[in-house]
Symmetry: C2
Subunit: 315 residues, 2 copies
């Protein structure tokens, strides 16, 4: 029996929510970057192709950081040409001008830079102060926009930081505002360690609005470390956010071992959105089948509850 | 490092939510009843004692159904006397007058009856029509109230049913209303197969209010099969519900195998409530330690994301 065929999730719209949400799929990048296994480049390309066929329209493909830092994505140069003809936007991460040059040379149309709301994470992730990292992004964003590229800014540690604890909202608003001033087209607010709760989400979104950052240019990026990602997403939708980051199958978080820091699973998100009557364009059955297929390559079941529930029904 | 000691979750209240929520802990009953392993009665008593010490004030202890149906809880008669002196309300499930007699003989002060919103589940779970089951509960509730007992009504399959698919709201409201008319002090709305989404929750609560069922006598009972339980809980809190059912450590749902139909984990719930500045009286560290201890007895890790995240920090 497949519950999907029985008309579930049943669509019951709720007042005050958007009619349509764009999902920014990060499984191939944020997901695979945090998996132990290094996935062959052909499998990555096939994964992205299947995600597009499942109806995802924005699929972050890879990262042009130095291979030394992220060996899982060292094949970025090989991957991008394999994605010719995939019917989706395929943004890539670039940390600096050298990364931008490599992306532009490959014909990439969308890039993302990744900033930090906290000094400790800026030092650990970028080996720079927050100020120095913004200075590094400035020419990247400027040149990307000159070249007609769409630029996303990521802001990590918007709610809590493993070294600094709770992060003051004023500090997040300040860095967010700076990233938008650099010329980012959209800004993704990251709860990198998954500690946010819905009131905190509302507070940050309200304060960003007061500071002049338009809600329609914001995305939310929740990790499900404490099981809060979907409740936080609901709070963001209630505030008017219409772009949500998620990772197919919850890639990037292992359900068993030491790392439980996975992204919100796209399937769990789609179940909620479709249950709320919100359009996504995604075929949940095809998406789930893709995550089951990828889980087989990784040699372990998906941590997504929706994937587990639907795939056990199919078996 | 313990994030709990670092002031996380950070309390950021949100407008329109209750100041305090009572958690109805179901791990010892709904949880253990759905675990393969039969836990020794002394371990169950110690589990309940530790849950009370962690600050839980209502802990469903066991069920007086026939042992043939639920062998995991066949020791109800032995368990209740072991709980003397536990500082919490300790309701037990009773299906019929014989169960009520056994409970009263043991000095139990709170009972629960369990109805179904759908005919198929009433037949499978109670071997009766919905109407016949209400007729069976009538003398149970009446006699329990005469004896001064608090009576909870459970209503299963309020959102979807594995055989019937989506369940019409009018049907749920009708059975809910009948259970309240019988004299139940509170009514717990069960999403037994975890298919609800937040708009559906709001709709059912609104319709129950319109039908004259007071929100302050309602509890919500979500299963996390599709990862929706906490988002659904948020929707219920926004509607004014102040009693939430949850299972310590997410007991009752196996993270690996065929059954992924666990209850909302109490720890994930407490993380959200405390993050929202909502009082629960629960010590999250002690509760997590209790779930880790119980997981060791069951021989597998807890499916609660909060338990996994906090316990890996402590190790």
């Amino acid at each position: 029996m497949s519950l999907l065929e029985d008309g579930l999730p049943m669509a019951v719209p709720a007042a005050g929510l958007p009619a349509r949400v764009r999902i920014h799929e990060v499984g191939a990048r944020d997901g695979l970057q945090n998996e132990k296994a290094v996935v062959p480049v052909e499998i990555k390309a096939e994964f992205i192709r299947r995600l597009a066929q499942a109806g995802l329209t924005t699929i972050e493909a890879t990262s042009f950081v130095h291979p030394k830092w992220v060996p899982q994505l060292a094949d970025a140069e090989q991957l991008v040409p394999l994605l010719d003809g995939v019917d989706a936007e395929l943004p890539v991460l670039v940390p600096n001008e050298r990364g931008l040059d490599r992306a532009i040379a490959l014909g990439v149309r969308r890039i993302a830079v990744f900033g930090s709301a906290t000094e400790t994470f800026a030092q650990r992730n970028l080996n720079r102060t927050v100020e120095e990292s913004l200075a590094m992004f400035q020419p990247v964003v400027a040149r990307a926009r000159e070249a007609g590229l769409h630029v996303r800014g990521y802001l990590s540690m918007c709610f809590g930081d493993p070294w600094e604890g709770p992060v003051p909202v004023s500090q997040v608003v300040s860095v967010a505002h700076r990233l938008m001033e650099l010329g980012c087209d959209e800004l993704s607010l990251g709860d990198t360690i998954g500690v946010a709760t819905p009131g905190h989400v509302r507070q940050l979104l309200t304060r960003l609005g007061e500071a002049g950052v338009p809600t329609e240019r914001l995305a939310v990026h929740f990790h499900d470390t404490y099981g809060q990602a979907l409740a936080n997403t609901l709070a963001a939708l209630e505030h008017g956010v219409t772009c949500v980051d998620a990772s197919a199958g919850g890639l990037g978080g292992c359900p068993y071992a030491k790392s439980a820091t996975g992204n919100l699973a796209t399937e769990d998100l789609v179940w909620m959105l479709h249950g709320l009557g919100i359009e996504t364009g995604v075929d949940l059955g095809r998406l789930t089948a893709t995550s089951v297929w990828m889980a087989a390559h990784l040699g372990r079941p998906s941590p997504s509850r929706t994937v587990r529930a639907l795939s056990q029904k199919e078996s």
